[in-house]
């Protein structure tokens, strides 16, 4: 067992060795530019991309012509939202999203507001799911896009995608989903789910960093997005730039592996996740965040009340996890996702996201339980708040004096 134990698979996943093996020849002998039309180096590269495109499409039940390769999910999110805003501006300028979306979606929407977009940011229920009635009420004639993520990166909940897409379509809007955390982990089918556009990325499913995709529906309806990067007309004019051939090959391989092994991985990981959760919720005043029924199999987000967040991370240095304040890295802001669920700043700070992955072992989970328990207990022993809580003082009723 390697220390620190890596339980941050929602941030990024280690590459599957089989993916790396598939990529290597495209760095060495098969190094051609896929846009070179006149020689074998180009054709070999193009063929490899076609093959990968098929594998990527197959994973999500799409046609290979519907896959646009990008440099990653952030670029895909940007392309989808800005691309729809520009392409459908004659139809309207209203976008509906939700406060717990990834920054790549929220920051893009904020940028578009400066350019004249009207954006509705739906709140979420305390379990992280959006209120479908509220979504329906928010739809207007000017609504061009509903952007709701498939699975949440911090708490792992899965939104009711099919119902959301139905509502969007009923009102003539397109439905875009950030599928980064869900694709490759649970079955995602763009037809059954009624998805018009979807962003996803390789490095969250044991593929390489620096490559992602955007699914853009071609039939019922035929969706188009305005290119955000021009120059060469690659990817059917929607995304230019020399294709990252080894990266795309790796992405294709990662998709193929996920398609074949997803069910087994999910089954194994949900057992481990449940073990982790039950092992940690025996601690007093610990709470699992987010809906426990509709969620990804490999994520557990747990708050430990009366524990100081940064201290907890320090005390758990043998575990690589994310805290409720770490998601935007250097900043010490409490997670806006957890706050969106209604958690207080303190509780958000004292939350830990455990992200299990294909290479997580039971031994590692046992270690994580033991480490976390020790850390929480230790910090509580030092905490005056915990002492007061144990003495039966209702901390919420105390009015703290200003310093």
């Amino acid at each position: 067992m390697d220390i620190p134990v890596y339980l941050d698979n929602n941030a990024t996943t280690p590459m599957d060795p089989r993916v790396l093996d598939a990529m290597i020849p495209y760095f060495t002998q098969k190094f051609g530019n896929a846009a070179s039309r006149n020689h074998a180096f180009g054709w070999v590269a193009e063929e490899a991309i076609d093959y990968a495109r098929e594998a990527v499409a197959k994973l999500i039940g799409a046609n290979e012509k519907e896959i646009i390769f990008t440099s990653g999910a952030t670029e895909s999110d940007n392309l989808a939202i800005k691309g729809v805003f520009e392409m459908y501006k004659d139809k309207g300028n209203h976008i509906i999203t939700c406060i717990t979306e990834h920054k790549a979606v929220l920051d893009t929407c904020k940028h578009l507001e400066k350019l004249g977009a009207e954006v509705t940011y739906l709140p979420v229920n305390s379990d992280g799911l959006i209120d479908l009635d509220l979504l329906e009420q928010s739809m207007t004639e000017r609504t061009i896009l509903v952007s709701i993520m498939y699975g949440n990166n911090e708490i792992g909940i899965i939104q009711p995608i099919k119902q959301i897409s139905d509502i969007a379509h009923k009102h003539g809007a397109l439905f875009f989903t950030d599928g980064v955390q869900a694709v490759g982990k649970i079955p995602v089918d763009v037809i059954a789910d009624g998805i018009d556009i979807m962003a996803f990325t390789a490095h969250k499913m044991y593929g390489p960093k620096g490559v992602g995709a955007l699914y853009v529906r071609r039939k019922n309806p035929r969706v188009k997005v305005t290119a955000q990067m021009d120059g060469g007309g690659h990817e059917r004019g929607m995304r230019s730039g020399t294709m990252n051939v080894p990266g795309i090959v790796g992405f294709g391989k990662a998709c193929e592996l996920s398609r074949l092994e997803m069910a087994d991985d999910a089954k194994r990981l949900s057992v481990l996740r449940d073990k982790l959760e039950s092992g940690l919720t025996v601690l007093e005043e610990s709470y699992v965040n987010g809906n426990r029924e509709h969620r990804l199999p490999h994520v557990a987000n747990i708050s430990f009340k009366y524990v100081e967040g940064e201290g907890l991370m320090m005390a758990m240095k043998d575990l690589a996890v994310s805290s409720g304040s770490a998601c935007t890295s250097a900043s010490l802001e409490p997670s806006y996702v957890l706050k969106g669920l209604g958690l207080s700043d303190d509780l958000a700070h004292s939350s830990i996201r455990f992200g299990l992955g294909r290479f997580t072992t039971e031994e590692e989970v046992d270690f994580a339980i033991q480490q976390t328990k020790t850390a929480v207990n230790h910090l509580r022993d030092l905490s005056p708040l915990w002492e007061m809580f144990k003495e039966g003082i209702d901390l919420d009723s105390i009015e703290w004096a200003e310093h």
């Binding site: 990024t12 020689h39 390489p208 960093k209 690659h234 230019s240 990252n244």
Partner: protein, 377 residues
């Protein structure tokens, strides 16, 4: 024999580069934004790579922004540079790469800007008098002119453009994708605001590049969503790509003089042999060592019947070259660059582009096959 003479389209990766990347791919997978040790190790590699590049270019690390490649870097400089500085007039050339022309033309269609195309001669040299008059006639311009042309090799005096840009308070973006790592660019003394680099043109990996932004210029991001690249480019960093880029940069500068002499010799040899074998062949663009890329030679062949199938026949003979730029996927339209310099459309043109991995024997082999194609019918 298999001969790759399309190095302006993409170059084979250097073994040393792959080795550096492989190590990272195998062992360093943390997200550089994560605060645990896996993340911190990745972050350290990322910043070390930035330092390597900025030290070589003699710029500040804070002036280097990693992107997914040259196209993104060009788009970012152009779109954000123009919009953020509220510039309405752009000076460019018809000889620019599509990664420059297409975003500019898209902005022109959206009526954000007007474009003036600076005149150039039949060898692709821009007309400086015209450039000056364009700068004088407009309030403030954004200049986008490439350092060296990817199809016809002609080099532009960017020092002189930079001086003019300063004199007329213009912003100067230079697509330096073909020269980064091939020529020492004296960023300190060239008054350029934006330079672009694509790793796979200098024996690095595909999918990674950077934009240099002079610290006196502030622009906003093009891709939003995350604090990466000091809030200038959202998205999890392509760590192995970045490590590979830095390594490729290091090697390119370490061996630049040796490589240049070696490759220049290959090019001169090809010119000399072609003149001997096919005297009616002429060369597009500049060919002198001072005024052209030593990596690119664009040859215009006599308009004989066989010429239509020239590239195809070369490919059968195991030689990979390109007709015009390879960077336009799926399109069979002729080269916009050759059109702009008034090249004879009846004469087939082939771009041969060289790297340090080519040999004289390969050049000789190529010239021999060309000779056969033209004379042994």
């Amino acid at each position: 024999m298999r001969v790759y003479l399309d190095n302006a389209a993409t170059t084979p990766i250097d073994k040393e580069v792959l080795q550096a990347m492989y190590e990272v791919m195998e062992t360093r997978f943390g997200n550089p934004s994560s605060i645990h040790s896996h993340g911190r190790e990745s972050r350290a590699l990322l910043e070390k790579a930035r330092k390597t590049i900025s030290t070589i270019l003699k710029v500040s690390p804070s002036e280097i922004f990693f992107t997914s490649g040259g196209t993104e870097a060009d788009n970012m400089a152009i779109r954000s540079g123009i919009i953020d500085h509220q510039i309405k007039h752009v000076i460019t050339s018809e000889l620019e790469h599509h990664a420059v022309l297409h975003p500019l033309q898209a902005m022109e269609r959206e009526r954000v800007i007007r474009i003036s195309y600076v005149k150039s001669d039949s060898k692709g040299n821009i007309n400086f008098d015209h450039l000056v008059s364009l700068l004088q006639a407009n309030e403030r311009s954004f200049i986008s002119l490439m350092h060296a042309n990817n199809e016809i090799a002609t080099i532009t005096d960017i020092q002189r453009i930079g001086d003019l840009a300063e004199q007329y308070n213009a912003l100067f973006h230079c697509d330096s994708v073909q020269t980064m790592g091939h020529f020492p660019i004296d960023v300190k003394h060239i008054k350029v605001h934006f330079l672009t680099c694509s790793a796979h043109k200098l024996h690095g990996p595909k999918g990674i590049g950077f934009l240099y932004i002079n610290h006196n210029v502030k622009i906003s991001p093009m891709i939003f969503g995350g604090a990466q690249e000091r809030n200038m480019r959202g998205g999890t960093e392509n760590l192995y790509g970045i490590v590979g880029l830095a390594k490729a940069f290091e090697i390119a500068y370490r061996n630049m003089d040796i490589d240049r002499v070696y490759i220049l010799e290959l090019k001169s040899f090809m010119i000399q042999e072609l003149r001997k074998v096919i005297p009616t062949a002429v060369f597009h663009g500049e060919t002198s060592p001072e005024n052209s890329l030593y990596t690119v030679l664009n040859v215009s062949f006599p308009p004989v019947e066989i010429a239509d199938m020239l590239l195809f026949n070369l490919d059968i003979a195991g030689i990979s070259a390109s007709g015009g730029s390879a960077c336009s996927s799926g399109s069979n339209i002729g080269s916009h660059v050759l059109r702009a310099i008034g090249a004879d459309p009846e004469r087939p043109a082939i771009r041969f582009s060289f790297s340090k991995f080519n040999t004289k024997a390969e050049i000789l082999y190529t010239v021999e096959r060309l000779k056969e194609l033209f004379y042994s019918r």
